[in-house]
Subunit: 111 residues, 2 copies
């Protein structure tokens, strides 16, 4: 589970459409920085700045082989933020879930 | 589904521990601004500022009856951000889900 400072950083990192698009790309697999930068009309320093924010938030890691830096997703931070989101579901939704489980004989305590 | 500008605002609003604590409180039900402010050691203007960020992001709505302003959660924004998070699950996790569904005869296409 992430602490408050870590959650602050993850949500802040995700509050930018370019960084979210980078995450969407990285879900499909690791890429080099230049491949990752390709779809965006921005300078390489700007790309590196976005990557630094994602890396500081623990959302990505990178390693350098020769002159190529490869970036990949580190899932714990996204999972931690997703868990926080999941806990904020309304009691009404949770009640609906339990009703669904009650009505569905293949699920839940009645199965 | 939220657009990029809306997602920016929701994630930005959630990047602050006080605002997340307010959301956690509001999940349990609507409250007055002064009740919502109680656990926090901050001025009422500061509380109103946080509420304005949450309201601008579509995470909460409020209405005034007499002199009391009541705040409640508006779920669409949180749901939309949760959906974005859900889409960023790694292919490996999705493969594990499909494997789970394959192995569990009470779920998925084999049931």
């Amino acid at each position: 589970m992430l602490n408050n400072g870590e959650l602050d950083k993850v949500f802040k990192a995700l509050s930018d459409a370019t960084r979210r698009a980078m995450v969407e790309r990285l879900v499909r697999g690791p890429v080099s920085v230049s491949q990752l930068a390709e779809p965006f009309e921005m300078s390489l320093p700007a790309v590196h700045q976005h990557l630094a924010v994602l890396e500081d938030a623990g959302i990505v890691t990178s390693h350098k082989t020769g002159r190529v830096r490869t970036v990949q997703l580190a899932t714990d931070a996204l999972t931690g933020a997703g868990e926080w989101m999941g806990r904020q579901r309304l009691p009404a939704e949770r009640r609906l879930d339990r009703l669904g489980a009650f009505l569905d004989p293949t699920q839940g305590p009645r199965s």
